[in-house]
Symmetry: C2
Subunit: 78 residues, 2 copies
């Protein structure tokens, strides 16, 4: 089973990487971009028998920093 | 309008970050993980009038390295 974990910064947390991307887009002449936030995408290939709780625990223990980041788990049909 | 850009490494491209995450998950005692690939998630807040071609060009010019990465553009209802 394929699982995608989307990790993004919480609202209000400063995002220098997103700021840099925003700035670079403007420098390249792209108009109409109001805001950019950078995050991580982690694709896991896991056994079909894995429990939702285990996936949740992986995110909380390793994949996301719960102090400043949110995560979202998306299961993809294999 | 909110747009999410998912950037992931192409198949066959070595992914040391994914390998490290995989190894760490095993070290934490999580079984049943076969493979891990790490990517980036970029959330853009853009004007509703922006053209699809402009989004595509942003990805090709800046957000993704087309030599080793794929991208996918997902529009999110505001």
């Amino acid at each position: 089973m394929k699982v995608r974990v989307h990790v993004s910064l919480k609202n209000g947390v400063l995002d220098p990487q997103g700021r840099a991307i925003h700035h670079a887009l403007e420098g390249l002449g792209f108009d109409g971009v109001n805001d950019v936030r950078a995050g991580r995408l982690i694709e896991l290939d896991v056994a079909d028998t894995i429990a939702d709780e285990a996936l949740d625990e992986m995110c909380r223990k390793l994949l996301a920093n719960m102090v400043i980041e949110n995560y979202r788990i998306e299961k993809v049909a294999a």
